[in-house]
């Protein structure tokens, strides 16, 4: 193996990774939109869990923490799932408005902000104080809502 030159190595590298790259590039807009929506449904489920628990006399902290972590991780997963061509032009039913791509800089900035707020919620849930958690939950909800008002089709 010591005698393998750079050319051979790079050929092997490309040969091994090409299938992986090819697969991610063959995801159709319909598939991307479907995965996006599935992740958002997970986020919705997680929000509901946190809301349900925080309304109970003895909230299940563990369930809330898991949900908050899922929101933070799912937001990160969805973030790169808005490539060009996955809006109304895709021909697939989606609630993603064209403004996402005409205003991509603002969209990305708001997305970053929502991840920051989600991380804050995860951190606060590690502490016993529920009041701060509830307050941060509202802050995160408003952050999400602000983006939805501008970039998601109203029902």
């Amino acid at each position: 193996m010591a005698s393998m030159n750079f050319k051979t190595l790079s050929f092997l590298f490309c040969a091994l990774t090409a299938p992986l790259v090819a697969q991610s590039q063959t995801l159709t807009p319909a598939e991307i939109i479907e995965q996006r929506q599935a992740l958002y449904r997970e986020i919705g489920t997680a929000f509901k869990t946190i809301r349900d628990e925080s309304g109970k006399p003895t909230p299940m902290k563990f369930a809330m923490q898991n949900s908050a972590k899922r929101i933070a991780s799912a937001l990160r997963e969805v973030q790169p799932m808005f490539p060009a061509g996955t809006g109304s032009s895709s021909g697939v039913e989606t609630e993603a408005l064209d403004a996402i791509w005409t205003d991509k800089a603002d969209f990305d900035k708001r997305y970053e902000a929502s991840i920051v707020e989600a991380d804050k919620l995860v951190a606060l849930l590690k502490q016993p104080d529920m009041e701060q958690t509830r307050a941060q939950f509202k802050v995160l909800g408003n952050q999400c809502k602000g983006c939805h008002d501008k970039y998601r089709l109203e029902e």
């Binding site: 489920t45 509901k48 809301r51 349900d52 309304g55 939805h148």
Partner: protein
């Protein structure tokens, strides 16, 4: 006031006009003021609970047994629709009775679906929605939306009917629902429930709403 007698009691009239205010209010507030929307929903729930109980133990003209007529009586009334004069009933005519039931049913459907509804973000939801999962809550939300479409149609039909009676049949149904008095000459004794009974049913309705708002947790 000759030829003018009391038909509708205070609770029935109050509930009617309170709904006229609360329904548009609930529609307006659902966009950005969910706290107000929930409050409006609870108010409607309380009024509906009162009205349904009142339909069994309230004043005569408000009781279901008094104004809900069978198919034969209702069909027999239909020719009177085309007559350009008022018919005399101590309260709802047979068609009006059925439309009141339909309106009540549409409102009950609207409120009950709202109690379990969950919005698309999982952020806003009804007081009983923690009993069900996210996807089921979404189904209730869709029901809540469809129900409102039906409610709007029923309300438009109701208003159209009242206008028809006013213009074609020369029968003003609005004033009696405000003053309680109608130029009716029907010789039928109407009982009007006491203030004590009104108070008791109001307390029952309010307690139930308070319990629902607390998620059915005492």
């Amino acid at each position: 006031m000759s030829g003018s007698r009391k038909i509708w009691d205070v609770p029935t009239r109050l509930i009617h006009w309170a709904l006229v205010v609360l329904i548009p209010f609930a529609w307006w507030s659902h966009d950005d003021h969910m706290d107000w929307h929930r409050a409006g929903g609870y108010a409607v729930l309380g009024l509906l609970v009162f009205r349904v109980i009142w339909g069994f133990v309230g004043s005569t003209s408000s009781r279901f047994a008094h104004f809900v007529r069978g198919p034969r009586t209702t069909l027999a009334y239909l020719p009177a629709l085309l007559k350009r004069n008022r018919s005399d009933f101590s309260g709802h005519n047979p068609l009006g009775g059925w439309s009141a039931l339909i309106l009540l049913g549409a409102l009950i459907s609207q409120v009950v679906s709202g109690l379990f509804a969950v919005d698309v973000d999982g952020l806003e939801s009804g007081p009983l929605s923690d009993r069900i999962d996210f996807e089921t809550g979404r189904l209730f939300a869709q029901w809540h939306e469809t129900s409102f479409a039906v409610l709007q149609i029923v309300i438009v039909l109701h208003i159209a009917a009242v206008i028809f009676y006013l213009v074609y049949k020369r029968s003003n149904l609005i004033r009696p629902m405000i003053t309680g008095f109608s130029a009716s000459n029907v010789c039928q004794h109407l009982m009007f429930a006491s203030w004590r009974r009104i108070g008791l049913i109001a307390v029952i309705a309010a307690s139930l709403v308070w319990w629902v708002a607390a998620g059915l947790r005492i």
